[in-house]
Each structure stands twice: as structure tokens, then as C-alpha cells.
């Protein structure tokens, strides 16, 4: 039983990371109806920019690379880059395409993916880099002692961080003026325009927030598996999460992430041996497919309200 819980907890904690990436998709989809395929590239760009600045800063300022100041300076610079990237995307790519069909916008974000990947590597190079957040990936001792389970310190830290991020985003959406305006824009662009909500500002804010989420996700993923091109593929893992949780729901992204994380690990351990293993890679997609058949709007997605 201890082993079961160990796998479950490990799965849930890694699910939090999927949720983080999925969150970026949800934010943009909710506010502008665009499925931003470039979210994965943004995660990669964010992590690479952070590591790049962290390496450069000691040379500029004469501080130690491991110092806290350098960490936060690099974080601030990376965040600023993400905000600029987000606002530029809105101005250059999406604004000229206002009122075009969804598929056009979607294709534009696919193009954006390659552009962002290319720019990131052109600036910072294509080498795999390590990223140290100062939290080691080792078991928490008292859990190991008392319950004989291995629970990674790093995973718990990542989960807590994601939890805080999500809670604050949810509060922002629910109770602030801008948050309300964001939801209003998501519901009906025309009506939002008619009551004087400036759509461009709102979209710029959303892209900036999505950039921030991408940065946090990039840091955690990067610290776990190195900052490398493969980070962009983590975005693909967010797809089943979105289908499960619903494209329009912040809590959905979290719960979806947890379910995907837990189920893929459990499936690998318990069902894997029966079919020769390696099912972790495709199990989430199968789960998503099943969900599409049963509940297409996802667990928490907004149902399309139609009066007849």
C-alpha cells in the first residue's frame, strides 16, 4: 500500500507541473478565444532567458552567480522579456487578425511557435543548460522515516508554488475589475467593446500574465529536466489536461493536471507490465479521447449556454 501511495503522490506532484503549462493555455483561451499553440515555446523561451541572464549577470554586476540578488534580477529581467514578448505578440500577430476565423488565429500561433523557438535559440544558443533553484530533488526525510515513502522535496515545493499561483489567479479573475473585464471579453468581444472596455489593453494584460505563468512553469520544468528544446514538447502534455479539465477553467487545468499526472504514473506501474511497459507516453491521450466522447466540455469547462 505504501508503494501505491508513493506512486500516487509522485504522479500528483508531477501533474501539478502539467497543470502549470495548461494554465497558460487556459488564460489566453478564456480571454481571447485563441488556442495559443505557442505556449510551449513561451515556456522554453522563458526558461532559456532566465538561465541566460543568470549566466550573464555576474559578468555585468560582479556578483556571485549563486547570490540571491542575481536570481531575482534574472527573474525580473526574464519576466520583463516575457511581458514584452506577450505584448508584441498581441500587437504584431493578433491585432491585425481581429475578427478572423478561429482557425486563422490558431495557425498564426503555430507560426509564432517556430518564431519564438528560433529567436530563443538564436539569442541564447541551443545547448542544454542546467538550472538550479536551490531546492534539491531528494526525499523528505520525515516521510521516509515515518511512512517509508519517497516524496521528493522539489516536487512538493513545485506543487506549493503552483498552488499559490493558481489561487491568486483565481482571486484575480473573480474579484477584481480587470479580472471581471477579462471574463467579459471572453464571453462577448462586441459587447465588451460597446461598454467601453478597451480590448487591446485586456489582451495585452492576458498575454503578459500568460508570459508570467510560462516563466514559472519554465523555471520548474527547467530545474527538473534541464533547460532544453524538449521543454516545448511539455506543451503537448498539456493538451489532454485541457481536454480533461475544460479549456475555459482555471480549476479545471489544475484538477486535469492532477488526474493526468496520477493516472499516467499509476498506469505505468500497474498496467504497464501487462502490455510490456512504456504506456506513460500515450495513456493521457487515451484518457482524453475517452473524455471527449463522454464529456466534451471537460470536467469544469463552461457549457455553451443556449436559449431556445
Amino acid at each position: 500500500m505504501g508503494f501505491f501511495f508513493e506512486v500516487l503522490i509522485g504522479g500528483l506532484l508531477s501533474g501539478v507541473l502539467y497543470a502549470l503549462v495548461a494554465l497558460g493555455f487556459v488564460l489566453i483561451y478564456k480571454a481571447s478565444g485563441v488556442f495559443n499553440f505557442a505556449q510551449g515555446a513561451m515556456v522554453f523561451f522563458a526558461a532559456l532567458t532566465f538561465v541566460g541572464f543568470k549566466e550573464l549577470l555576474p559578468g555585468w554586476t560582479g556578483l556571485e552567480e549563486s547570490s540571491v540578488v542575481v536570481f531575482w534580477l534574472a527573474f525580473a529581467l526574464a519576466l520583463a522579456s516575457m511581458v514584452v514578448l506577450g505584448i508584441l505578440t498581441e500587437k504584431v500577430v493578433l491585432r491585425p487578425l481581429v475578427n478572423q476565423p478561429h482557425i486563422t488565429l490558431f495557425m498564426a500561433t503555430i507560426g509564432l511557435t517556430f518564431l519564438v523557438e528560433g529567436i530563443a535559440q538564436a539569442i541564447w544558443g541551443a545547448n542544454v543548460r542546467g538550472l538550479d533553484l536551490g531546492i534539491t530533488d531528494e526525499p523528505i526525510e520525515w516521510i521516509l522515516d515515518s511512512a517509508d515513502m519517497i516524496v521528493s522535496k522539489f516536487d512538493v515545493f513545485a506543487a506549493a508554488l503552483a498552488g499559490i499561483l493558481v489561487a491568486s489567479l483565481a482571486l484575480f479573475f473573480q474579484y477584481t475589475k480587470v479580472g471581471r473585464a477579462l471574463r467579459a471579453v471572453a464571453d462577448d468581444h462586441q459587447a465588451a467593446l460597446s461598454i467601453g472596455i478597451p480590448l487591446q489593453h485586456i489582451w495585452a494584460i492576458v498575454w503578459a500574465v500568460a508570459g508570467f505563468v510560462a516563466l514559472v512553469a519554465g523555471l520548474i520544468w527547467g530545474a527538473r529536466s534541464g533547460v532544453q528544446f524538449a521543454l516545448t514538447f511539455t506543451a503537448l502534455k498539456a493538451l489532454p489536461v485541457l481536454i480533461l479539465g475544460g479549456f475555459t477553467s482555471v480549476p479545471g487545468a489544475i484538477v486535469g493536471g492532477l488526474i493526468i499526472g496520477a493516472s499516467e504514473k499509476l498506469a505505468e506501474v500497474y498496467i504497464g507490465p501487462m502490455v510490456g511497459g512504456g504506456i506513460e507516453g500515450w495513456f493521457p491521450y487515451m484518457l482524453a479521447l475517452f473524455f471527449l466522447l463522454v464529456r466534451p466540455e471537460g470536467l469544469f469547462g463552461e457549457k455553451h449556454i443556449d436559449r431556445v
Partner: protein, 278 residues
């Protein structure tokens, strides 16, 4: 002329005036072919006409919502309180007090009624207490909304949604509301209720209204002045009570034939009023 009379003439410069406005959609479809109309401060003006006559387009050219539908004002000008407003963004216009309530209500379906109303105050930077006061004011005019305040707007009735849309516009503290087809798809009793509230807002809050309507009979009963549109032009105008008794209006818009049916050949044709100065 005495000086008092001149001052009076100056202040009588039209509150909202549209001069010879031409609107083209998608660079090719000519929808408004030179429309001119005026709204006096504190009045209710009805813009009447059949489907596709250009009523909504006229309203959208004022509120500048055409851009999002690839429409363009290609000629003419629009003035509000003596200032040109045809290049302003909807955001600026709402701040200046001109707001449109769109046809088909367009409430934010997944927001509650109260959240819908709160978004209406987006352009105003006001304190929590003032916001609360504005909200109470809207609830005072639309008591029905108060009882549904926590329901998602998408699940409320058509009448409630129309009230929500008007209430949302009120939250912006407008001086002039452009109301597009408030009666659309509503039961006659609800239509009456909504027009009563419009009249009430007009007299008590001094909000001027320009409303586009197909329901000519009701609109003329509540309006002070009316314009009738056909094919992108204004073909007739007059005080509301005069229009309501005009034989041709009765025949074609009110469906009240005087003596039997008339042949279309005998119908008097109205020519567009030419305006040489735009």
C-alpha cells in the same frame, strides 16, 4: 435679435448630429447613403424602418462599433455636443457619455447579472461606495434584476437580459444611450415595461435616447421625434405624434389602412432630402 436670443440659438446647436454619413462595409457594400439626423438634449428620438434599412448601422456609426464589423464611415461627420466624435474609440465615447446597447442584448452569459452590471462601470474610476450607489440606482429602475442578481445572465429570460443590457449601459453614467431594437423577441407586456423604464430614465435622469425600432407603434408612442429609414436613407421625419397620424406611415409601418387596401402605384414616393453642405 436680442443678445439673449443669440445665446439661445448657440445653445440650441444640436446635441447629437449626424451629417450626410455614408457607410461602406468591406470596402464594397454601400449601406448608408448619406444619412443626416439630429437628437435634441433630453429627448427620445426613434429611428424606424424595416429590416436592412440601415438603422443599426446608423447607431453603430455613432458608437464607432463598425470597425469590428469591417464597416467604415467614408463620408460625412458626426458631432456630439459640438465636437466631432467619428474618429473616437468606443472607449473614449463611453467616457464622454455616449453608449450603445446592442441589438440582441449581448449580455455576458457566464457572468452573473450583478457582474454584468459591474463591468458596465469599467470606464469610470470610482470608489467602492459610488459603485454600490450606481448599482442600487440600476436596481431601483429594474427591480427584477435585483431578484436575479446572482444568476448567470445566460440563464435569465429575454426581458431580463434586455434589462441587464440597459442597466449595464447605465452603470457607465451615460448622457446619451443608443438603443438598438429593445423590443426584439420580447412579449408585448415586457416591451411596454421596458419602454416605460426608458421614458422614466429620460425624464428623471435626463438621459437622451436614440432608439432603432421595428415596432413602430410602440416606439412612436414613447418618442418625441421620429425618423423613417429606407434603403440606407432617411425618407421621412417629424414629431412622433405627427408621424403616428400620417396616412402613409399608418399604411406601411403601422398596418392601419385608412380605407381598404391601396395600390402600390398610388403611393406617394418620398425623395431623399438633399443636403449640399456636409
Amino acid at each position: 435679435m436680442t443678445s439673449a436670443a443669440t445665446a439661445n440659438a448657440a445653445s440650441a446647436a444640436p446635441y447629437l448630429s449626424i451629417n450626410n454619413v455614408e457607410v461602406i462595409y468591406d470596402h464594397v457594400i454601400l449601406v448608408l447613403k448619406g444619412v443626416s439626423l439630429q437628437v435634441e438634449k433630453g429627448s427620445i428620438v426613434a429611428l424606424l424602418g424595416a429590416n436592412g434599412a440601415g438603422k443599426s448601422t446608423t447607431l453603430k456609426s455613432i458608437s464607432n462599433l463598425l470597425g469590428a464589423e469591417r464597416g467604415d464611415v467614408t463620408k460625412g461627420n458626426i458631432e456630439f455636443k459640438g465636437q466631432r466624435i467619428d474618429q473616437m474609440t468606443p472607449n473614449d465615447l463611453v467616457k464622454r457619455g455616449v453608449i450603445q446597447v446592442m441589438e440582441g442584448r449581448h449580455c455576458f452569459g457566464h457572468l452573473t447579472i450583478e457582474e454584468n452590471l459591474l463591468t458596465g462601470a469599467y470606464t469610470r474610476s470610482i470608489s467602492r461606495a459610488d459603485l454600490k450607489e450606481s448599482l442600487e440606482k440600476v436596481y431601483h429602475y429594474f427591480p427584477r434584476l435585483k431578484t436575479r442578481r446572482t444568476s448567470q445572465a445566460g440563464y435569465t429570460s429575454g426581458g431580463e437580459q434586455q434589462m441587464c443590457a440597459i442597466g449595464r449601459a447605465l452603470m457607465a453614467k451615460p448622457e446619451m444611450i443608443l438603443l438598438d431594437e429593445p423590443s426584439m423577441g420580447l412579449a408585448p407586456q415586457i416591451v411596454e415595461e421596458i419602454f416605460e423604464i426608458v421614458k422614466d430614465l429620460n425624464s428623471r435622469e435626463q438621459v437622451s435616447f436614440l432608439l432603432a425600432e421595428q415596432n413602430t407603434m410602440v416606439a412612436l408612442r414613447y418618442a418625441d421625434y421620429g425618423y423613417i429609414m429606407e434603403n440606407g436613407r432617411i425618407v421621412m421625419e417629424g414629431a412622433a405624434n405627427e408621424l403616428a397620424t400620417n396616412e402613409d406611415v399608418k399604411e406601411f409601418y403601422l398596418g392601419l389602412a385608412g380605407e381598404g387596401r391601396k395600390s402600390f402605384r398610388d403611393v406617394k414616393h418620398y425623395r431623399r432630402r438633399k443636403r449640399w453642405l456636409s
